[in-house]
Amino acid sequence: MAEEFDDEFDGPVKRFLFVNRKAPYGTVYALESLEVVLISAAFDQDVSLVFVDDGVFQIVKDQDTDGINMKNFSRTYRALEGYDVEKLYVEKESLDARGLTEDDLLVDVEILDSQGLSDLMDAQDVVITS
């Protein structure tokens, strides 16, 4: 396992990957996973998020949950940058299958094809899914 040491932190820095494959609101996984991501920011690790399959719906613009009386947590994805969580990846094939484009998304992401995402995910040390 690759372990590096940086200047400010004397523990190992690992590549943490959070895989988001589930739509928001239908289940709580998206919301609770985001809570883990926010906490991970405090540990100075190399954090990446990928949005694949229905996970891409988590970052669709203009979510309005008033009619279902649930908390709209989509703005929190915009706040990730302030936590230095800046590596967000989306699979192009997942967007295409759902009729979505980059313009539908509420945060800046890097869009990769399946092959590119596969390479990126394979290079991680710790993969957290939910």
Partner: protein, 119 residues
């Protein structure tokens, strides 16, 4: 119309209890009668008074309790499903009662429609 409602999932992981609550609210508003809400499978977790969600989120347990109080809606928690999941009388929020699965079948017999919400 007399409605029976079956809820198969708990108050957070799935939207089932939320959808059921919105449906029930709309039904009451339109003047229908809800003869029973039956909580089965993980649905029994909707009944615990110890649930303490963040203040900026909805509290489904309290919402159901309030509906029971204001509209006399019967909230029945399956005893077998509850026991194995650690829900007993000491945990019950106001308006919830623990009873047997027969109450679900009875609701199916007595209601004009039984509507199920789950995973």
């Amino acid at each position: 119309m007399k409605l029976g409602i079956l809820i198969n999932e708990g108050p957070f992981t799935h939207q089932a209890s939320d959808s059921a609550y919105q449906f029930a609210t709309a039904a009451l508003k339109k003047g229908h009668e809800i003869i029973r809400v039956f909580f089965y499978h993980d649905g029994v977790y909707n009944s615990t008074k110890f649930a303490d969600p963040p203040s900026d989120d909805r509290n489904l347990v309290q919402q159901w309790s309030k509906m029971a109080e204001e509209h006399g809606v019967e909230l029945i928690v399956c005893v077998a499903a509850a026991m194995r999941r650690g829900i007993n009388d000491d945990a019950l929020a106001p308006g919830f009662q623990i009873s047997g699965l027969g109450q679900l079948i009875e609701a199916g017999i007595e209601a004009d429609r039984l509507v199920t919400f789950g995973d």
